[in-house]
Every structure is written in C-alpha cells, then in structure tokens.
C-alpha cells in the first residue's frame, strides 16, 4: 500500500510540474498584462518602465528559471493586479468556493440518485425517458444561460431571491442550483447504469427467491451496491465543480476561486494564473488520490495492478 501511495504521489508531482510548465508558457502566448494596464496612448517609455517594474523585462527563459526557483521554495509569485502573494489570494477566495460545493453535491445526489433508480426500474418506459431528458438537459444546458435564466425568474420577476453576491442562506440557492444541475444529470446517469447492472446480479435474484419485498431488494440491496461506483465518482465531480465554478461565480458575482481564475486570465495576471491552476491541480489531484487510496483499500486488485 505504501508503495502504491508513493507511486501515486510521484506521478502527481510529475503532473504538477508539467501543468506548471504548460501554464507558464501558454499563458504568455495570450498577451501581456502591460497592454491591459496602460491606456492606449501610453508612450513606449512608460511601457518599458512598467514592464521592468513588473519583472517582465527578462527573456522568457530567464523568467521561467526564476519562476521554478521561487516555486521550489513555495513562492508562486505576487499577483500583478492584486499586488499580493498569489498563493494568499487563492486561499483568501478558496473558502468562498468550497462553501458552494457540498450543497451542489448534496443537491445532485438528492435528486440524481432517486431519478437514476426510477429510470432503471422503468427501463425504456415513460419515466426512464423523462429522466433521460432531465439528464440530457442537465448536461446540455450551459450553466451561464441557466444562471441568467434563474436570476430573471426568481430575482427579477418573482423577487424571491437575490440576484447574486455572497450573503445569507438565500444567496446560496441560485448558484447551488446552477452548479448542481450538471451533477443531477451526472448522478442520475451513473446511478441508472449501475442499478441496471446490479439488478442483473445473481445476489439480487437470490434475494427475490428468498421472498424479500421488491422495495427492500431495490432500495437496500441494489442501491447499496450501485452506490459504490457513484461514490467513487465524487472525486471527479468535486474536480468538475472546482473548475466549473468559473461561470457560475462570474454570473452570480461570487468571489471564489472560479472568478479569480477568470480575472487572472482577463488581466493576463501570469503569476496569479499560474498559482491558481497549479493549486487547483494539487487540490484535484489530492482528492483523486484520496479516492484512489480508498478504492485501492477496498479492492486489492487496484493496488496490485
């Protein structure tokens, strides 16, 4: 098990190095923060001075060497726009995103899992098709459009909920629904296929032969076994939520790491962009590592593979 964990950690470290390198160079291909910080009539002299002040006057290679050197000491640079350590900016905003995620996951599970069960029980029937439609819509509807639609209906027309920004519990509802809709579809589809597979198992047939009621067979025996693949996909879903929060946080003016990423891209804030992507990658890799370890713990074939 220790060797398995060590191997996964090594793989994670290599992956992070690759992500950092790619982000460093790709980010710089998209332009220059100086162009966005100066007005269009700034002189070449002002441009050169600001480039130097921001530490962007060296060659790309020199800048990369400095970046790697600092990163090895845990310093991912200072945000060009916010003038604070990029890591600090990330962790300032991270809690704002993390408070949304459990609620979105909960919404996805509460609606998605029962829908998946119902769809599996009515395979090919009307309810299955209805649930399938929900799944398709959940995946296909852009969260940007859904967010704007929810604001229009529940804030502007009905006046029930605020349009955006962090605040009391009522501020959470629309962003959580927007984020969670995708998950409802995801959980529904996985639960449905897992249920269909489990329902064909020998032990389910045995349970029925033993005379257990259909409710006990479905909700106790089938669902419990079908939930194993569902729960292992949590890691993937949390990763999706962390990266997918960009749109939701932008629409709802939610000051989380999603919007921080958006702002870093828009302002060509290279140090912040690098830090955000690297830290997000570490976060997602850590979650996946935990899931993998748990999975390996449950299923020895994984760690022996």
């Amino acid at each position: 098990m220790k060797r398995f964990i060590a191997r996964r950690l090594m793989q994670g470290a290599v992956l992070i190095c690759m992500v950092a390198t790619i982000v460093f160079f790709l980010g710089r291909l998209t332009g220059n923060p100086v162009d966005l910080m100066l007005p269009e009539d700034a002189t070449a002299e002002d441009r050169a001075a600001l480039t130097k002040t921001l530490g962007l006057d060296g060659s790309l290679g020199d800048q990369f060497v400095i970046f790697v050197g600092n990163a090895l000491h845990g310093d991912l640079g200072r945000s060009i726009r916010m003038k604070q350590p990029a890591v600090e900016a990330f962790f300032d905003r991270l809690p704002n995103t993390l408070v949304l995620i459990p609620w979105a996951l909960l919404l996805g599970m509460i609606l998605g899992i029962p829908l998946g069960v119902v769809a599996a029980l009515n395979r090919g029937g009307l309810l299955d098709r209805a649930a399938g439609t929900v799944a398709v819509l959940g995946v296909a509807v852009p969260s940007f459009w859904l967010g704007v639609l929810l604001i229009f209906v529940f804030s502007v027309e009905l006046g029930w909920l605020p349009s955006g920004r962090m605040g009391g519990p009522e501020h959470f509802i629309l962003p959580v629904v927007t984020l969670g809709t995708f998950l409802v579809a995801g959980f529904m589809r996985i639960t449905r296929s897992a249920m269909l597979e489990v329902m064909e198992s020998e032990f389910v047939k045995l349970a029925r032969i033993k005379g257990l009621s259909e409710g006990v067979v479905i909700w106790k025996h089938c669902l419990r076994n079908a939930l194993i693949p569902v729960l292992t996909l949590w890691g993937v879903f949390v990763g999706n939520l962390i990266t997918g929060a960009i749109v939701t946080e932008t629409v709802f003016a939610w000051p989380g790491i999603g919007r921080l990423t958006y702002e870093a891209v828009i302002y060509r804030d290279f140090p912040l962009l690098q830090a955000v992507i690297i830290l997000k990658s570490i976060l997602i890799l850590s979650i996946n590592l935990v899931v993998d370890i748990l999975y390996a713990y449950v299923d020895p074939r994984i760690r022996l593979a």
Binding site: L36, M37, A49, R93, A253
Partner: protein, 546 residues
C-alpha cells in the same frame, strides 16, 4: 441677570448645535450602491494602478491636483484652485485651495502635493505616466503651504491636464505625514484621502465601501450616507440587480440599453467618452506602395462608404453621435471645435456613389481585397459589432474584406515592433475621451511613437515631417491663440491623411433605478462616475444639474 446672560446665550447656542447636528446627520442617509464590471486592481493606493478605471473608486476618496470643468467636461479646478505657467514655459505654479483636510484631520498642504507627485514618479509606481513624469519633471518646490512649483525639463503645456482625473489618475493627492508615519503597507490597508467619501472596507473580488464626510467639501457634500461599489462582472446580473433594487446604478453597454429601458430603468448616457475608429497600418512603407490603401483617396473612399448614422442607430441604439476628427471632442482644449464639427459632419457623410467613383478613378472599379483586423478594447465590446458592420458596408462598394477577429490581449502586441502582422491592414481601434489632443496625436503619429501611423524614422515623408514640425511647435507655444492654430493645423494634417478615421463618438451608459437615486448628470467625457457620486441626489431630492 447680566451674569446669567452669557450662560443663557451659551445654552441657546448649544441647543442650536444639538438641533443642527442631528439635522445634518439626517441630511445624509441611505446607501448608494453602484455595480461595475471591473474594479481593476481594486487597490486604494493610487500608485498601484495605472488605468483610468481606478477613477471609478479612487476618485470617491481622493482629490486630484487638477479637477474637472463640470460644464464642459475638460480640465477645471481641483485641489489647486488655479495654476499658471511661467513666461519661460518651464515652471508651473499651482495655488492650493485653502482649508482642505484629509480624513484623519491632517491639513492638505503643498508638502502633500510634492510628496504625492514624487510618489507617482517613484520606482514602485505603476502609474501609466510614471516614466513620462520622471523625464519631464525636473523638480518640485514647495513655496509655502498653499503654493507649489513644478519645474519641467522642457515646456509642458499639457502638464495640468495630465494631473487631472479628466486625463489620468497621476494627480491624486495622498497624505504625506500619515504615509510616512504608518508606512506603505498600512496605508494600503487603511487608506486616507481628502475626497468627499472616506474609506471603510475593501473586500477583494466583491466590493469597496465608503462613508460620506459629514463636513462641507468643495466637490459637494454627499447626499447619501454610504457608498458601496460592487464588482459584478456579468452585465445581465448587473441589470437584474438594478431592477431588483440590489444596486442603484450599474454600468452597461449599448447592447443592453434597449432591454434596460424596456424594463423600466432609466438609461444615462455620458457624452464624449470615446471614439470608435478604424486605422490603416504602415501605409507609407515601401512594401505597401502598390496596395490600394497606400492611396489617400482610396482611404477617403472607404470612409465615405460608411453609413455612420446606421451604425449609431442600429449598433449603438441611437446613443452615440457623429464624431469630431480623430481624438477631438466638444471639450477639447485649444481647438476650434465648432469649425471641426462642421467639417466632420460634411467629411464623414455617407456617400457610396462618390466612394465608388473615387475607387474607379484610382483604378479599382471592381474594388479590391482588404484585410481588416477587428478588435475591441476592454470595456467596449460593441466595437466588434461596429467593425463587422463597416466591413459589410465596404463590401457594398465592391471591397472584398477579409475580416479577422482578435481579442485585445492578442491584438495589442501586434502594433509594436515591426508591426509585421498589421502592415497593409486596416483595423478597428479606439481613443478615449480626453481634453488634450496633442498627447494622443503624439502616440499615434510621431515617427518614434508606438503606432507611427504617418511614417516611421526611415520613411517620414512630407505629411509626417510637417506633423513633427507642428507638434514640436505646439509643445513650446505659450500663446493661447497660436496654440489653437497649431492644434488645428495638427488635426488638419491628420484628417487630410485619412489614415485614422473616426466612425462614431461613443458614450458611457448606465442603468439607473429611479426609486433608489434621484436625477443627475454625468461629466462629459468621463465614463466613470467617481467624481459624481457626491452630487447624486436621493430620489426625493432635487435633481443635480451642472
């Protein structure tokens, strides 16, 4: 009885104050909530943001050495109530308005002015014009508490404009004693200014909160008690917030104006905030000499092929106007604005028949192929629609346009260096509303400039040379009339060259919930409302008119 009189008088006076004080406090109530798409660097230290966007929020709490002409929109009195240039043109003397104080109670003096300008020029400054200031300002001398002299290396006629928020944020005045006492880091956490709003809280990525000063202020004592500036990047959310009353005012684009009006919101247009223009790159270069766009009349024909009124009506929803010549506005200093307005109305008319005729006379009866880079500067996304519309209009006179869209971050680097990706191309561009034309003209047309649209150092022909001569004469000219004549000449050279051609004069747009705020006017040319917040009335109050 006589002994009692002073006590009675004192009591009456105290009662009077007690009555008056709550009345004053009651006079300022409610929160003015303003939603904007960006807060830029969201820093309250004026040296840490170079973009004028900080005028949205820094202007609330900082005063600028030179202020606005509220009527006309150009430069006007600020922290300095007047200023004059020495006969040799090398020294500007600023006379500070007496009785100004910072929010911590410190008096605002010439020492603060000198400290602030030197801080803006300092090595840690990100101010857009920091390097230019270092080059042009030789020294700053405090004559007394209310008089400051700025000695320059050469005549700098435009210096007061450069220290006005009407142009740039470099004139913001900061408290010397406070910053020296608490240090820069502490100042950034607890900034102190002298404006009509005091800093309360800065929540990164979300909002900045201010509270009104309760004493009279030369910019006006705020009618609201508090001011909150919200960062709401998505435009439809901003409009929704104004509709629900979560925000009182929100910045919007022209594409949202109709929807906001239909939803019952008032739309405020700020005139003269920008010009959408198109320009031709490297037309003087040897490798472009055979290109149609190397010919002045062809470039003029492309202007005649543009139906600006259609663009104003359909792209800008009627909230824009016919432009003046490049980078000039009704409020431009030292310009015969009326004369140029008449000229522009005629020259920028829609005349496709004449456009075709000129093209035929120049040897292109069947049109030609034109490469066109479409782009929009931050905050002016509608420029992409304007670019698409004019490309379509050019096709109607036979020009085959190959249009390529660029995000601004990708476009901007192309205009530097050898401009290889742009030479021989036309592109969209923008110029912001500013009261001083020469600075912008220098940046666009001088052979040493970044854009060098009339000629570069190797290829500076007649018009380019004439421009250089006129611009240099303009910089040294102290006489108002001669300066105006030189500005007119500079504008004439550029208009006759037809390399940079205005399409429309744009405005700044705001959606307003009239249940939350009363009626007010913006300052012409200033998209930001930073210097207007204190004048905005509550709904039950009289409208503010300049």
């Amino acid at each position: 009885m006589a002994r009692l009189m002073p006590r009675v008088a004192t009591l009456v006076l105290l009662l009077g104050f007690a009555w008056a004080a709550p009345a004053n406090a009651q006079d300022q109530k409610g929160t003015l909530v303003f939603a904007v798409e960006t807060l830029g660097a969201q820093t309250l230290d004026p040296i840490l943001e170079g973009r004028p966007g900080n005028a949205v929020y820094q202007a609330a709490m900082y005063d600028s050495l030179v202020g606005f002409n509220l009527e006309k929109g150009g430069v006007g009195p600020g922290v300095a109530e007047r200023w004059e240039l020495a006969p040799d043109g090398l020294t500007w003397t600023f006379h500070i308005r007496p009785g100004q104080t910072f929010h911590n109670g410190d008096k605002l003096t010439g020492h603060d002015v000198k400290f602030s300008l030197e801080r803006q020029m300092g090595p840690g400054s990100l101010a857009a014009a920091a390097a230019s200031m270092r080059r042009t300002i030789k020294s700053i001398e405090v004559v007394d508490d209310l008089t400051v002299k700025v000695h320059t290396t050469s005549p700098q006629i435009g210096l007061p404009a450069g220290l006005s928020r009407a142009v740039a944020p470099e004139g913001a005045i900061m408290p010397k004693a406070y910053i020296e006492k608490v240090g820069e880091e502490e100042f950034r956490k607890k900034p102190v200014g002298s404006g009509p709003w005091k800093f309360v809280r800065n929540v990164p990525g979300d909002r900045i909160e201010f509270t009104a000063v309760t004493t009279p202020h030369w910019r006006g004592r705020p009618n609201f008690k508090d001011l909150t500036i919200l960062l709401v990047p998505e435009e439809s959310t901003r409009v929704a917030m104004v509709r629900t009353g979560e925000a009182s005012i929100a910045s919007i684009g022209p594409e949202t104006m109709l929807g906001a009006t239909r939803a019952g919101l008032e739309v405020l247009s700020v005139p003269g905030t920008m010009q959408a223009i198109f320009q031709f790159w490297g037309t003087y270069k040897p490798e472009v000499k055979d290109s149609p766009i190397a010919k002045v009349r062809v470039r003029q024909a492309l202007s005649l092929a543009i139906d600006r009124k259609q663009v104003i009506e359909h792209v800008m929803n009627g909230k824009a106007q016919m432009p003046y010549p490049f980078s000039t506005f009704a409020y431009t200093d030292y310009l015969s604005a009326d004369r140029w307005k008449k000229w522009a109305d005629e020259a920028y008319r829609y005349d496709p028949a004449l456009a075709r005729k000129i093209l035929a006379e120049e040897g292109y009866p069947n049109g030609f192929e034109l490469k066109f880079a479409n782009t929009a500067l931050p905050g002016t996304q509608f420029m992409v629609d304007i670019g698409t519309a004019i490309a379509d209009m050019w096709t109607k006179v036979g020009v085959k346009v190959t249009i390529k869209h660029y995000e601004w971050g990708s476009f901007a680097p192309m205009e530097r260096g050898d401009q290889a990706g742009l030479v021989g191309w036309a592109s969209m561009y923008r110029t912001a509303g500013r009261p001083d034309a020469p600075w912008r003209y220098d940046g666009a047309f001088s052979p040493e400039s970044t854009q060098r649209l009339l000629g570069d150092k190797e290829n500076c022909q007649e018009t380019c040379q004439e421009f250089v001569k006129t611009y240099r004469a303009l910089l040294a000219e102290l006489d108002r009339e001669k300066r105006t004549a030189l500005t007119d000449r500079m504008v004439e050279l550029v208009t006759n060259a037809w390399t940079v051609i205005p399409i429309i004069e744009g405005m700044g747009y705001y959606a307003i919930n009239t249940k939350k705020v009363g009626q007010f006017q913006a300052i012409a040319g200033r998209h930001e409302l930073g210097d207007v917040f204190e004048r905005i009335p509550r709904p039950e109050q009289k409208p503010w008119k300049k």
